[in-house]
Symmetry: none
Subunit: 212 residues, 4 copies
């Protein structure tokens, strides 16, 4: 098998990561033997080690991409949108509903959070991720304040943290309980965050979606 296209290489990496994804979700990073990944990927040890230099590298790759995906889910939209906390959270829920392998991804996210605690590289990575996300959310919230849509006394930076927290807590419970009622959680979250005016507006939006 002579030199092979870059796509092939990328595909192999993906194949290995997908296998790892399944295994790690099932048993956890450190209880998954490499052997499980070889089998799930249908590859030999040598083949896997061609693409990743160690198990730790695979763990890092999976953890990073999961953490990154999660962060992306709470991302505010294009600059200029005057989004309040409620809309920001709303987008997160939309994203989660649309995610593929939702269950596996959420389970991995929880694992990855634990990994961050002991892995300096992942730790740096999430710090950057959260800092960036928070900065952008904060800016968006400040715009919303400027337009009078949000309490002007709100500490937008801390508020961004709280919104992220809700998303994280949702992920944990969602990973734990297969039967978690996502729409109910969503509605309650929005309701708790909404000042009366906002509540009725969003409720109307929701009804419109459901009837369409």
């Amino acid at each position: 098998m002579p030199k092979v296209s870059d796509e092939h290489l990328a595909a192999r990496r993906r194949q290995i990561l997908d296998a790892a994804l399944v295994c790690f979700s099932r048993r956890g990073f450190h209880q998954t033997p490499m052997q499980a990944i070889f089998e799930e990927a249908g590859l030999s040890p040598g083949a896997v080690y061609r693409y990743f230099k160690s198990k730790e590298e695979i763990v890092r790759a999976i953890a990073s991409e999961t953490l990154g995906g999660f962060a992306g889910a709470i991302e505010p939209g294009a600059d200029g949108d005057p989004l309040g906390p409620v809309e920001l959270l709303d987008r997160f829920f939309d994203f989660i509903e649309g995610i593929e392998r939702r269950r596996d991804r959420l389970r991995l996210a929880i694992q990855a959070w634990g990994e961050v605690l002991h892995n300096p590289e992942l730790s740096d990575f999430v710090r950057g991720l959260v800092d960036g996300l928070r900065t952008r959310m904060s800016a968006t919230l400040r715009e919303a304040q400027d337009r009078g849509a949000v309490d002007p006394e709100l500490d937008t930076d801390a508020a961004a943290r709280v919104l992220i927290a809700i998303a994280q807590g949702f992920a944990v419970q969602s990973a734990w309980f297969e039967d978690l009622d996502l729409p109910a959680f969503r509605a309650a979250a929005l309701s708790l965050l909404s000042h009366p005016a906002e509540v009725s507006r969003l409720r109307d939006d929701q009804r419109q979606k459901e009837t369409s």
Copy 2:
């Protein structure tokens, strides 16, 4: 020598669990070798294995007590208190501030959440924990609704979940970032959840505390 033995037994178990606590917080459950626990506890392998049948049992014990402690933190007070969401969350923050070995405990909580995903016993345990907690919070919130302090349309059960989620998300970020500004997070959380009337009331309470 039954009584002495029992106390001795409990003390030894505690000694071992404390050692495990430190080690697990430092390196994670599955990256901590038993050897580390022997050393931290100042005991021989044989001694440790007299009190715990296996490493898994130690992991389970630590995870359970951490999860239980966390759940206890969000517990509503004595029946009859008409607590709204804001007060419930407020109690959680009070609890966290007072917790001993706060950092280690939070780090372990994150780890334990991951463990729950692969460990049927822990899974059953948290399910019971969360169900009970949610039920009690829900009841408390319903009382608050009855007295008109909370939006009567709120799904109290889902709302309880959301409050738990905020606590969890806070734990994650707090474990990740040593420099997390707890008071700011707390204020933002309360502010986001508060309808105008509540906001001013709590703000006054807080000021009173600070001046006293």
Copy 3:
């Protein structure tokens, strides 16, 4: 098995080293799997790794002790002996004849020389060994010069090197050829080095030994 005497520990180390000695002599350092040592020593992997932290450490231990033994073999006697080159070499041959596991030791010495080339620690070790040895031999030779027993123009330092070289070359051939005629080699070496006067004196000594 509670704490055990220091002798026991030393004995275990020796047991492992003896096993390694046999295996390494048979197959060479890097072609001997640890498994072979476990079997030869009659110990489990864990037991061996209790005493040596890696294979490399065992290699180093065996190589050092072999190199050290070899160096000791060419050592001049107590200070004050007016030994010439011939007597110095003579002592080496006496030592070799008396060495236990002579064959294995010589085979290991050859291996170890190769190891020295790639192992910085061993490299430092032999440098010290050879420097010390050469210094002492050189001093002894200089005394012999003072007493007129050795050519006063001889570079004693370089001469020491040459004597070491003869010992080394002897070791190689002795390790290669089981049937090497040691007495003949010895006689030829002494003869080549001896100026006529010395030759006859040593020959007489030898005859006396044989008749006694």
Copy 4:
């Protein structure tokens, strides 16, 4: 395409052996992965395996050519030369000084001596090499005896072994110590071996060389 193929074949073999030479000298036979040779040679695994059936074959080829070269270095000249021990050794030193990649070759020689101990083919090979060499040196020495230039009682066969030994010991020390003083070693070796008459003759020869 027979001729071209043959030349090509030989050139490729040489290219591979040169690469192996460098790698083996650097890390030793068994610590050099084939990958290192592929890279040093700038060839693919497939290419290398077209010219050598296995790593062992490469090791054997390198070891043989190194051992052969070393033996050739101590070879007496054309039949009929009445060479004594001193002259024979002298030729060896001349050869070593002129050898290309002297350092690498000497390092490989030491390695190869160890290899001989475990490799039957190499073992047979050196036996033949040394036997032949010794026979020829012995004959030469016997001629010298006939002409009265060497002690008639000397065991010429054993003496040949001793001369080879000096060369080997020199090689070891030379490979170990980059700063070894070759001329001093050479002078000391010749001095130790020379009976007074020979010494002065050679010293004169040497001076003549240096002035020319």
